[in-house]
Amino acid sequence: MDLSFLAIQALNGLASASSLFITACGLTLVFGVTRIVNFAHGSLYMIGAYTAATLVPWLLELSFGPVTFWAGILVSALVVGLIGVLIEVLLLRRIYGAPELFQLLATFGVVLVVQDLVVQVFGPQDILGPRAPGLRQPVEILGRRFPSYELVLIAAGPVVLGLVWLLLRKTRFGVLVRAATQDREMVASLGVNQALLFTGTLFLGAFLAGLGGALQIPRVAANTGMDLSIIAESFVVTVVGGMGSVPGAFLAALIIGQLQAFGILIFPKGTLVVVFLLMAVVLAVRPFGLFGRPEVIGGTHAVGIASRKPQRNGMIWGIGIVALLACLPLVADQYLLKVATEILIFGLFAFSLQILIGVGGLVSFGHAAFFGLGAYGAALGVKWLGAPMEAALPLGLVLAGAGAALIGAFVVRLSGIYLAMMTLAAAQILYAVAFQWVDVTGGDNGIVGVWPSAWASGQSAYYLLTLTLVAATVFLLKRLIDAPFGYALRAARDSESRAEAIGLKVRRHRWLAFVVSGAAAGMAGGIYAFSRGSVDPSLLGIPTSVDALTMLLLGGIQTVTGPLVGAGVLHALRDQIMPLTSLWRLLLGLSIIAMVLIFPRGLVGTIRHWREERA
């Protein structure tokens, strides 16, 4: 490994750092002013890439030359900026006061909508943009050839940093942005036109995302997977740098760019892991990132389960419902039983998340980690230890519980949005491990041949087994929520300082909640693995986490039984609608947004509210 090679790697690192910074800078500015973590930022980046890859070749045909190319890039970024304005006016403006969980979910709804719309507008195939006129010849650096376009990218990062700095320091708009980042309420009470400020910030943020995406077109083909991969990296950059801090984002992007460039030499398959480990380490040492400040807001934002009179016949109702469900195999066909099994599994998965979110106020955005660990634990037990189902299921549960204990130990020091990001990062690390550690996990293909023992292999038998396990776990968790353990979690959610003043060890309680919730999710994951006969990395992916959150939201976050109902409804809808339309994600995204905007209590919560209003 000689010096010139290292120099080229470093330059590669700088080039990706620049692209990353331009995108992440927009994210961090938007967060600083609006306090919303915009999941759709990656979608804006993707739209930027698609727009540029379509627009620039068309422009170049009209008049070939560097000016046209760069004008095309800028116009694409401007278009994306206007889309950002549209999103602000139509959606974000309505959720500034909402709990952060709802904000995250609503912007994720936008991600889903954009995914389908991009395919509709630009077609399903990847689009590679033209190379930049005047920059097609590689340059020679230390005897090695290096693409000249990359050099322009390297320069673009500092240029954008400089321009943003000038904008923030020298213009009235910039002063307002900085003031709002420091103290939004004070800016509001000084009579600043908030709406204009927020819309302007969203334009700027979206413009930067679009610019980041548009600049990629000569390097990477615009594709439909761009949004989630860039948003994950941008989250890491903004969190490591400190949310809301532009210089922090620049520094973090530089570190991460180099880490990726050289990490690939040391761990050829582990670059994703290295990046997320960096974030874990930084947050463990500095809970608010490198340049971040403790959140001023928060605390009052927790929504969740509240005390209500115990149902007189709750136990009888519960037994009755379980007995009714146990009779299902008498009337249902194989397909219906399979669907019912999955609903039960996802009901348990969502219910386990309710312990963290509804009871503990801990917004975990990476709950798929524990579901996937349970599934992989069971599958690995079968594949490598030859374990039967009876041993593999507990193995999955233990692995998920242990994973939750480890992740929880990092996470319980954090709060609010940092906690959500850290759990997301943890899930992404596991996703990367499952994806890249092919020898053990089977990589993208996963592990097949995970079948239940003979006595449970029939569809009816497996359904009954699932029902038994899920009912028993839900019953135990319900006891735990009503017992002092659950109340102590709620106490810490309602008022941390009061909880400490009555002697509650808040962090230990939260850590235990992670272990319990993770183990329950792992149980669900294990059952799921055996019901499908296989596992694959998608079980650990962001969409799986969002599924759990959607079920929770759909059922109602303030109710104990909500997640179970939510799982049933979401699954049934998906089952009915998905075969009919290719726009399933669009519909799901719009429903999530609609739920957040007009239906925040969820189904069970709304019905109960309606009944209480009448009473």
Binding site: R479, P484, A491, L504, K505
Partner: protein, 258 residues
């Protein structure tokens, strides 16, 4: 034996000295008020005694035992109860559950996994609420209460731990004048009957001179005067500290029996 002894406590934030050589003692059953103009360091001193802040130097002794570096949880176990400037209760729970939660924690049963919380110590919790005159509201949600009632619930929570020392940060802030006197009357009678030492900060001079047995005056992080309400009222340095606000130190128009 002295209940609380604070010895040359100091704390600075950057270059700002918020507390300098603060020293005082508090006896069982005594009501001690800590007053001073805004920014004098009252909250800093208070939070160092409550465990929310770690002092730079000095010592805090409870019954002769050092608690200088103890966490809020550990202080609670040693018999320190407190209320906050903005009342802190568990708003998602009913009034009685708030008190039950404190009792559960006091008996170290917060890890309980089986028996429902509402069946723990309900009788005891209701007694405490009755003492506060809140028994009728026991099963209402804490979030549905008027602020004055929330303050009384908070006091019940603080008393549930069976404290020897009660810290009250601006106990009457945000309450109507009549409620203020009632709450402080109640507090002093409980302090006397249970031999609880009470340290409180307060802006309302009627409350201070009507209910404190002794008053400490803090100015720019230092105690400039200590003594009975009458001595404090006559003290020239204190008058100067409150310059421009002389009426604040006049005897309350309506003397109340403490």
């Amino acid at each position: 034996m002295t209940l609380l002894a604070v010895q040359n406590l100091g704390k600075s934030f950057g270059g700002v000295v918020a507390a300098r050589d603060v020293a005082f003692t508090l006896e069982r059953g005594e009501m001690l008020a800590l007053i001073g103009p805004n920014g004098a360091g009252k909250s800093t001193v208070f939070n160092m005694i409550g465990g929310q802040l770690r002092p730079d130097h000095g010592a805090i002794l409870l019954d002769g035992q050092a608690i200088t570096a103890a966490s809020p949880q550990a202080r609670f176990r040693k018999g320190v109860g407190r209320t906050f400037q903005v009342a802190q209760t568990f708003l998602s729970m009913t009034v009685v559950e708030n008190v039950q939660m404190a009792l559960v924690s006091c008996h170290r049963e917060a890890q309980g996994l089986w028996k429902p919380t509402r069946e723990h110590y309900r009788g005891q919790a209701l007694e405490l609420l009755a003492l506060m005159g809140m028994a009728d509201a026991a099963d209402r949600s804490c979030s549905a209460l008027a602020y004055g009632d929330v303050k009384r619930v908070e006091l019940a929570i603080a008393l549930a731990g069976g404290p020897k020392l009660l810290l009250m940060d601006e106990p009457t802030a945000g309450m109507a004048p009549r409620e203020r006197a009632a709450l402080m009357d109640l507090t002093s009678s409980i302090a006397a009957s249970r031999q609880i030492g009470v340290l409180f900060t307060e802006h309302d001079m009627d409350v201070v001179f009507g209910h404190a047995a002794r008053v400490l005056v803090l100015l720019r992080g230092e105690i400039i005067a200590a003594g009975s309400p009458d001595e404090i009222r006559q003290n020239p340095r204190v008058r100067q500290a409150y310059l421009g606000d002389e009426h604040a130190l006049h005897a309350p128009a309506l003397e109340r029996p403490a």
